[in-house]
Amino acid sequence: MSEVPSELRYTRTHEWVRDEGDGTVTVGITDHAQSSLGDLVFVELPEGGGMLEAGAACAVVESVKAASDIYAPLDGEMVGANERLADEPELINSDPYGEGWIFRLRVSDEGALDELLDADGYQEVLEAEE
């Protein structure tokens, strides 16, 4: 069973989103996503400063098998990326919700956070996929 922490928000494309309480959110990929992708060997990190629309591809994670796009969960400005992933992409496999975070966004509309899936909603997405 994949871990789905209750305090996070989720997208149908398997990103998780943590509200940092200061107008920014941290984004990564879920335990289910990292487990499906298998061993990650390369992460193409987003450039800082750009404005993104929800649903825009903004990073790429590559496993041994394939490359997968990571999408912005909300409209916002890219304000940072996890530089450690350049040398240690496997952090996403070992700690997807912690040290394996991928980027931070300053969100344009904090209210939009509530429109993302909660843990139960994401769990349903996973069950439907099985």
């Binding site: 298998g38 061993d39 060997v41 390369f42 193409e44 041994v64 098998k65 490359a67 350049a86």
Partner: protein
């Protein structure tokens, strides 16, 4: 639901991720594909490759038949138990499949063909075997397990039945021994030492369990792919297919043009190509920076362009490698287009890794 091998239950119990592979439900990985890869490079790993087709070709004129069907010459197999790697070609010299053929005696041969091409191969072989009065029999009663790695033979040995254990221990590379319905060859697809064991499907679970007890790691087809790519071995359907010849696929060495009087399917086309000059070749690529090479990415040396046929991260090397089909005269340095960026790569001669050691500078 896809075909299942005799080991399907074991794969499920072990928590393997199962995927469709040419109509077979096969394990792609058990835990970590990279750990499975390292297990084979450093010790020993086992692969269920029962989806591959074992085809027995038998009859008084079996040798004549195979000398006509295959681009390599089974006449080179001077003793029973010897093996040969070869392509099965169409009249145009295009590769229908690549396979290993073993001589059991001069009237009985065994070939192992790819899962995805099995039906096509069987139809082709039967069509041409008829004229020789030779039988072509697909052995769906057999399973096949590859045990690969520097410790593979030592660990697998005690798990083999008595009838075949002793001759198997004495095998030289590219030879096979049989006994008690088991067929053990010292061949593989990983660039490591080891065995490929063809055995009655009913014995597969017990043999698999014995290998696990001997500390052999279960490995999926994912690791098999990164291992074969590091070993510089072509994958049918990616690195070659019916649209290219062995001469364009780094497999000229598997075509026996001598003796000149041997007629084989595709010979005329290959001779014409050889005379006209082979326009393309398959080369190895090493990506210099970060990123991952993948099939179908384009590659350019500034003058000539080509295409990646296989690409992956190479766990032994810690960087990305690939195979690319490029024009003759392609330079030693090039750029690969990866998601709109041109990344530098170096052209090398495969294999990239052999017997656990990097072979590229």
């Amino acid at each position: 639901m896809g075909h299942r091998t005799a080991l399907h239950g074991r794969h499920r119990e072990a928590g393997a991720r199962l995927v469709d592979f040419a109509g077979w439900e096969m394990p792609i990985q058990y835990r970590s594909q990279i750990e499975e890869h390292h297990a084979v490079r450093r010790a020993a790993g086992a692969f269920d490759v029962s989806h591959m087709g074992v085809v027995d070709i038998e009859g008084e004129r079996a040798t004549d038949c195979l000398r006509y069907l295959l681009a390599n010459d089974v006449g080179r197999l001077e003793a029973d138990g010897r093996a040969l790697y070869t392509c099965l070609l169409n009249e145009q010299g295009g590769v229908l499949d690549d396979l290993i053929v073993y001589r059991r005696d001069p009237q009985r041969y065994r070939t192992v063909v790819n899962a995805a091409t099995r039906e096509k191969d069987l139809a082709w072989m039967r069509r041409h075997a008829e004229a020789f009065g030779v039988s072509v029999r697909y052995r769906d009663d057999l399973a096949m397990i590859a045990v690969q790695g520097p410790e593979a033979r030592e660990r697998a040995g005690p798990a083999l039945p008595m009838a075949v254990a002793e001759p198997a221990a004495a095998l030289r590379p590219f030879t096979a021994a049989e006994g008690g319905g088991w067929f053990v060859s010292r061949t593989g697809y990983t660039g490591e030492d080891g065995y490929e064991v063809i055995l009655p499907a009913d014995d597969a679970v017990a043999f698999w369990d014995a290998l696990m007890s001997a500390g052999v790691a279960p490995c999926g087809l994912g690791a098999r792919d990164t291992l074969r790519l590091e070993a510089g071995l072509n994958l049918y359907g990616q690195d070659m297919d019916e649209t290219v010849t062995p001469l364009e696929s780094n497999l000229g060495w598997t075509v026996a043009f001598e003796p000149a009087e041997r007629d084989f399917i595709g010979r005329d086309a290959l001779e014409r190509q050889r005379e006209a000059g082979v326009a393309r070749k398959l080369v190895g690529l090493v990506l210099e920076g970060r990123g991952v090479l993948r099939a179908h990415q384009t590659v350019s040396d500034g003058e000539h362009a080509g295409e990646l046929t296989s690409g992956s991260f190479a766990p032994t090397l810690g960087q990305s490698i690939g195979l690319a089909r490029v024009p003759q005269g392609f330079g030693e340095r090039c750029e690969v287009s990866i998601r709109g960026r041109a990344l530098p790569a170096r052209v090398v001669r495969p294999p990239f890794v052999r017997h656990g050691r990097p072979r590229i500078g």
